[in-house]
């Protein structure tokens, strides 16, 4: 597999007399993957994300993005173009008072010629479903819509990888759904690598791979079913599991025969149905 992001023994601290925030991260993310990074507040997940497009540079170790060392200042723009970043507060990343001009901000900075820029902006807005709003002012939009505009602003750079740092933390359930649908679509239809920093378990459950961080280290890294079946480990570091996984886990503890790898409501419903049918047979016989 070709890797888009590789970190080697990544250590980071803000200054020499402070504690290490990241304590040796070795992570490889392949092209086209959809990865969630989970962790409690202060686990270092946002700090790690900031290393992926050189907002922060490693104190020790190395980060390579698309073959470029993030410490290489000469290739900074090339790097930031291939790894776009979406932040938590949509208000603080929208630059312009017109939606389409905000989306054009990055291409403008990159000196993309007019015709090409027009095409990219329209395409990006269509892909996040905000094309009808292109002439609106961001202040007229809902949180979810603003965040989709912010995502379009990154897509217009044609990145290979998008890093989203808790993009849904400030949104209502409707907005969260909109953003998650957009991100999933980017990954499936356009093959963009997605790294989603989140503390929502149900969002992580939708990803192809979940990386769990605690105290600056990676403690779990696997498919979501495998990660969430480790209910005790997750609870110990203060994380929850999706409600259905917890239900299955409680049922198992109570002695029922149910798979620990349940992460979606459909899977849970099916498993419960099976369980009830089995016990129904048990009673009648």
């Amino acid at each position: 597999m070709e890797y888009i992001i590789e970190t080697e023994d990544l250590h980071f601290r803000y200054s020499d007399d402070e504690q290490w925030v990241l304590k040796g991260i070795d992570l490889k993310i392949g092209k086209g993957e959809f990865v969630a990074v989970l962790g409690h507040n202060g686990s270092g997940k946002s700090t790690l994300a900031k290393h992926f497009n050189a907002i922060l540079l490693p104190t020790k170790g190395k980060v390579t993005v698309n073959g470029i060392d993030t410490a290489d200042e000469e290739k900074l723009f090339e790097l930031r173009q291939s790894a776009g970043m979406v932040f938590q507060n949509p208000d603080n990343q929208i630059v312009s008072s017109v939606v389409e001009e905000d989306v054009a901000f990055a291409p403008e900075n990159l000196g993309v010629p007019y015709e090409e820029m027009r095409r990219r902006v329209d395409e990006a807005l269509k892909s996040v479903g905000m094309y009808e709003y292109r002439l609106h002012s961001p202040s007229q939009l809902s949180g979810g819509q603003k965040q989709r505009v912010a995502i379009a602003g990154i897509i217009a750079m044609h990145p290979e990888c998008i890093i989203l740092d808790e993009p849904t933390a400030m949104l209502d359930p409707q907005g969260r759904r909109e953003v998650m649908e957009t991100v999933t679509k980017m990954n499936r239809e356009y093959g963009v690598t997605i790294i989603l920093i989140t503390h929502y378990m149900d969002e992580a459950a939708k990803c192809g791979r979940v990386v769990v961080m605690d105290k600056g280290r990676i403690i779990l890294d696997d498919r979501p079913e495998k990660v969430f079946s480790q209910v005790e480990t997750l609870k110990k570091i203060g994380l929850d599991v999706p409600q259905v996984t917890e239900l299955a886990w409680e049922l198992r503890r109570a002695g029922y025969d149910i798979s620990p790898e349940i992460i979606t409501e459909e899977e849970c419903a099916a498993a419960l149905e099976k369980l009830i049918k089995q016990s129904g047979h048990g009673n009648s016989s």
């Binding site: 776009g84 970043m85 208000d91 312009s96 389409e100 901000f105 403008e108 961001p138």
Partner: protein
């Protein structure tokens, strides 16, 4: 209460005034200001008045909006009137009480000033009412671009202006939120003596400033992440092109200006 601010507001539309090249609009506005200030006779001001009415009608924006703008600057106008009424001593005395004296010339000049200020306000409002702030900034940037040779930071200035404009609604919303939050904690924002109110304002301004700095920091990071590197080598989505109508508008304005000057000399 904060949403009633009309100065600097933009009303989208498709009128001929809306469609003029913003660079021309700025130049026309400057010519208009000259037109209003050039003379000291009513006849000359009337040219400016006709021009203002014409432009307002063409813009298709409700007269009500312009009157609202005037209303918001009423205190300033009253002050001008008072100063002129009582401090101009020449002309026939109409009314006197102790050292206060109103003369016919004072009245004339007061009326003249009121009309002048009103025209000025309404005429210049047309610029902001019919041009989106971002286009306006763009136009300023391009009009000033020759100054780049003198190392004047034109692009940076325009970027600051457009970011400021972008954040006005956000900060108004935030201020509303802070006011509500402080009220919920028992702060009395709208009552009390002037001093008490001024003091209460601190409880709004401090959180507002703190959050603005945080916003500025985050925005700067977000801009860097989108490869912002100053003005060099940037291309633009918004293209400004002048059309024949811009030159016609310029010609009409120049004719009005000439008329004002000629009438003033006559």
């Amino acid at each position: 209460m904060l949403r009633d601010i009309t100065i600097g507001q933009y009303f989208p539309g498709e009128s001929i005034i809306h469609r003029l090249d913003p660079r021309f609009k700025i130049v026309l506005t400057i010519l208009f200001i000259v037109m209003v200030f050039t003379g000291d006779k009513f006849i000359c001001l009337s040219v400016g008045a006709v021009f203002t009415v014409l432009v307002i009608l063409l813009s298709g924006i409700k007269i009500k909006m312009f009157l609202k703008t005037l209303k918001s600057l009423l205190p300033l106008m009253l002050l001008t009137v008072l100063l002129n009424l009582f401090f101009i001593k020449s002309g026939d005395v109409l009314w006197q009480w102790k050292f206060l004296k109103i003369t016919s010339e004072g009245v004339d000049i007061s009326i003249f000033m009121i009309v002048r200020i009103s025209l000025l306000l309404m005429g210049t409002s047309v610029l902001t009412y019919t041009t989106s702030p971002i286009t306006l900034t763009d136009a300023v940037e391009r009009l000033l671009s020759p100054l780049k040779k003198l190392r004047f930071p034109v692009h940076e200035l325009a970027m600051m202006m457009s970011i400021a404009l972008r954040f006005i609604p956000t900060l108004i919303e935030e201020t509303d939120k802070i006011i509500s939050a402080q009220k919920a904690r028992g702060a009395e924002i709208d009552s009390g003596s002037f001093m008490a109110r001024a003091k209460n304002l601190i409880s709004i301004l401090v959180p507002l400033f703190v959050s603005s700095f945080r916003r500025a920091d985050e925005l700067a990071t977000a801009m860097e992440c989108r490869c912002y590197n100053g003005g060099a080598g940037r291309t633009r989505l918004r293209q400004l092109r002048s059309a024949p109508r811009d030159y016609i508008a310029l010609a009409v304005t120049l004719i009005f200006l000439a008329a004002a000057i000629v009438l003033n000399i006559m």
